[in-house]
Symmetry: D2
Subunit: 348 residues, 4 copies
């Protein structure tokens, strides 16, 4: 069960109907989970902003770097041009090149892209090398293409799945999590959806309750470190500048869970709008766009903060104990104990 | 009484002895509070990193911009050169030029600075225009020089004082707050001190307890907006790059109080190290420095997050109800109700 | 006479009719030159992007920092919000606060701005402290307001005027310079206008001819240092992201004159579009804008490079020898020798 | 013959003995040129800052982005941590993942790196898709490893070699170029070496002479576009902040050749110091470093500008006419005509 089903609330804004990134219309997620033998615990998660040819119909996008100890590809072109031209793929640290190459394959192979000679894949990662034989680089291009192909709308699987298969978060089993917010009509009615790959440390706090302290498991008491990839989608009509501001708020959501963005952390937020598209080629010299004014951004900021906080906690509730490489074992969050703590705090 | 005296705890690290920015050796704070008649509610807070001539003995420094809707001066030179060469002054939005000019006066007037023809004052602000007749620009250079002159080590006054005289935070009276953390020797033993000028909105959370929701006072239910200036001092030997990383963590501390960095927010963090100085002139072509390694930054990151969270809440506990310009009235945080909520949540 | 009247050509694109920043329709420039007694050699240059109330009708804008050893105010808000809400004022380093305060006066005083409690003045500077008694801070608010009031369209005075009164460039007398480019209709037909305040060093190159070397006057042979403020206006419909890219190209134009952006240099470019305005308040939640596509930016980039190069050289041709503070004397560029060199090089 | 052998001079500072990036002691370059059949015209260029294990002994580094339409990997970690932990590899756009993967192989395979689970490869590129069948992705990991293995000190081959095999610059055949500057002892005596992969457009200017205009070949007269990768090595003891400033000056050198950093350009500068190393692991909590002061940076800035300008022109002089994919043909720079033009301009 997801935290919200236990009555836990994160913030004050209502969720979308699935409480998932896929509440943003047209957004699809595909995941491939790779668990083989004693030591392979990894995978791929792909997020597609729309159902068309993303290279030909680019999506407005921006990337915020919380802490840059990571291997995200595609940063500079997104920043320079303000657009995303491939799906977003998440995987493990040492498989970024494979996933990048697969996105090139994917792009070149699309019928309308026969003349494409340059493409900017966006691939993020966290390091699952504690549970996964990461040096073995077991992700293949086929795995990535499969994740892209099976991407779909609707509910998103959370926990030990896709790029979250082998991750560790606050000393517990981390993974993929997702959440969304739907603004009231008076604030624009937009949806903000977030998907996270959780693999980081700090002092876990759930809906404000200091769970990490109570359970005696937190950074510098134990050695906790690592990264968090965050993907934010919205149907609000934002340009790259305001998407970057939105992305920064996801990082604030991470802070609310007790994350500290430690030195070794690769904390990146990729924010994308589905409200309009920028054609790769057109005879119109202009992009004619209707952009939400700066003045109307604040509700979206709050939505991104809340949805990111919830997505991270969702990943922890969904993830299950796992044994992997070198016999390393990571326990799932002890949900019953956590629920007890939240009950005592009056949070459920 | 400060929150900690009620038993409220923020995070897991111990505070310095004063739980104030002045726990960092040599750091001095001076404040001038200006309350006159029915409509003047403003002031000046000055922070001096060391007792010497700051222009001649510059301090390593960096500035992180959370949300840049603000009028901070001095940003680009600090970023380019990695040093601070004046005290830091905080005041109200429309008095930044006056304070900047006063810092020039202050610098030019120092005996060793007789040939100085260029100086980079660092002045931050938030907008106290709800309680204060800000358009009247009642801050004078004399007020600023007075704040500098009376700067001292030791306890720092909080609440409706100095640059926090007229500010509003989470719909309650905001102000100046301060806090510190002292790392255990095993983590380096360094002190991180924070001082904040709180004037922002969101959904107030105190030590994780959703006070804003419980009291029915939060952004988009009411119109809350505004800014937060944060100053971080440390005796850890950091260069500008790692100071900027540290500064970013203060912004994460703000997130933990429920701040959302709304569109209209000017959220800036100025981080300064007192561990060494960069002489303005010297015959040595080199800065010979002993810098903390990246690997050892994470405890400092956690310290900055915790101290910022606590400093913000401290400002709210210390501030008192105030009536000002146009009869506007802002109530103090209802501390008794808050303590009740924290008791129910098991946080005290 | 301006360089172009001698037949010197900079690049390949045609100029606007005035070869000035005021070729961009609606742009006005006002300058106040302050020469008093033996040691006051300074001034103010104001650039207004349009004739309306700039606070109420903000202009899309961005700022690029070449080398940040300078005191520009207003950077972070322009970057965060993508708009300019005051005229741009240039002056000397230590008079930035005075000019900033004057821009606040100017803004608050406008009839429609009666409720304004926050405004982000943009003031740039270079250091005229060799010829001017800069420590005396002889610029008054009245000087700044006068520059704003007398701003007008039409030809722009160059050389020892306004903020360029006391500046030094490549060891010769610098000052204010301006130039423009008008793209052919096939490339969009847009105008790019540049105004510079030149006060920097390097190895002077005029239309590619190594004048500095030939005249034996260049950095590290002599002590040359300093800054360059660049203002770029265009009627091309650009948002802040593409304006920042355009601004960066002005810095490339500086490089073409032999500037090296030395350590002590404050090289800033403020780029503004006049093609549309962002209202301060409106009932429309959207900015409905028609923006030039990324693909069409390159001709504007070339225009900004060429116009900046020419504006800098124009400032040198226009400036006249000047004696100032402490009897310091700076000679004008020896135009006849320069013309000889250019003739020999086949450049005229 | 290289331009300097014809008597062409770029700037005023002396070169190192090889006039190559390898004038910086310990720096090695390895190149693999891949020309096969009618349509494969590509390659790999690797630059190694020192002869040790770069992962274990990281080099201080920074990256400046001129125009970010490119696929450089490794940016954010270099920026966050200020270090380079792999060799730098340059190749073609669509082979970046292959080269990245090869750098992972290379790093994991080194004896001391048996426990490495995270590594940040730095791979840059330009697009050789006009002469090369870039969609075929003909670079293999073996090619990259070979470039790394055969890296050596001494003279560096220029022109149609390595990553410059199939590039086009100012409408002529581009390629690899290199140059260096050695500061006089009075300015520190440091060496700055630059290596470029030239593939861009604009209005070619050689030692200030407007060659592009004279030959009737320039942007918007013809369709010229593209990118330039620049690598700057120095033995000056700089930290990441000053290396980034140095990197920016290489971009100024590009401007001096007539480059315009067009919309489609991926212009990146990677700057690395060889003066000290940051160990991956150590018991010392500090980096004890002796860093060149800001005040002493300007001569290095000039050196980087000059060396980059010369390296670009060197690439054009060395490159030879080439026919490649789809029968596309690109002519070499007509050196004799160019020399004539330079003679007429008095530049040789």
């Amino acid at each position: 069960k997801r935290p919200r089903e236990y009555g836990i609330r994160f913030g004050v804004m209502p969720t979308g109907s699935l409480n998932a990134i896929t509440d943003v219309p047209g957004v699809r997620v595909g995941q491939v989970t790779i668990q083989q033998g004693a030591n392979i615990r990894t995978g791929v998660t792909a997020i597609l902003p729309h159902e068309g040819n993303i290279f030909q119909q680019k999506a407005p996008a921006a990337i915020y770097i919380g802490n840059g100890f990571g291997k995200l590809t595609g940063y500079s072109q997104v920043e320079e041009l303000g657009t995303l031209e491939t799906p977003i793929v998440l995987t493990n640290t040492l498989s970024v090149p494979t996933a990048t190459d697969a996105l090139i394959d994917y792009t070149l192979a699309q019928p309308a892209n026969g003349e494409v000679r340059s493409v900017n894949p966006v691939v993020g990662e966290t390091n699952d090398g504690y549970l996964n034989d990461i040096r073995g680089r077991h992700i293949t291009k086929q795995h990535v293409l499969q994740a892209l192909q099976q991407a779909r709308t609707g509910p998103v699987e959370e926990g030990n799945v896709g790029a979250g298969t082998g991750t560790v978060c606050f000393g517990y089993k981390g993974g993929i999590g997702t959440s969304s917010r739907k603004l009231p009509t008076s604030l624009g009615g937009y949806t903000v959806g977030v998907l996270v790959q959780t693999n980081f440390g700090g002092v876990l706090q759930i809906a404000g309750v200091p769970v990490g302290v109570k359970l005696g498991k937190y950074s510098f008491k134990e050695k906790l470190d690592g990264s968090c990839m965050m993907v934010v989608l919205t149907d609000a009509p934002l340009d790259a500048r305001n998407l970057k501001r939105l992305a920064k708020r996801a990082f604030m959501g991470l802070a609310r869970t007790g994350g500290i963005a430690s030195n070794g952390s690769g904390d990146y937020v990729i924010a994308v709008s589905t409200a309009y598209r920028i054609p790769h080629e057109t005879t119109n010299p202009f992009d004619e766009v209707k952009l939400l004014r700066n003045d109307n951004m604040s509700p979206l900021f709050m939505a991104a903060i809340e949805a990111t906080e919830e997505a991270i906690i969702n990943s922890l509730f969904a993830a299950q104990s796992l044994t992997g490489d070198q016999g390393h074992q990571v326990d799932a969050l002890p949900v019953n104990q956590v629920l007890d703590l939240l009950r005592k705090a009056g949070q459920i």
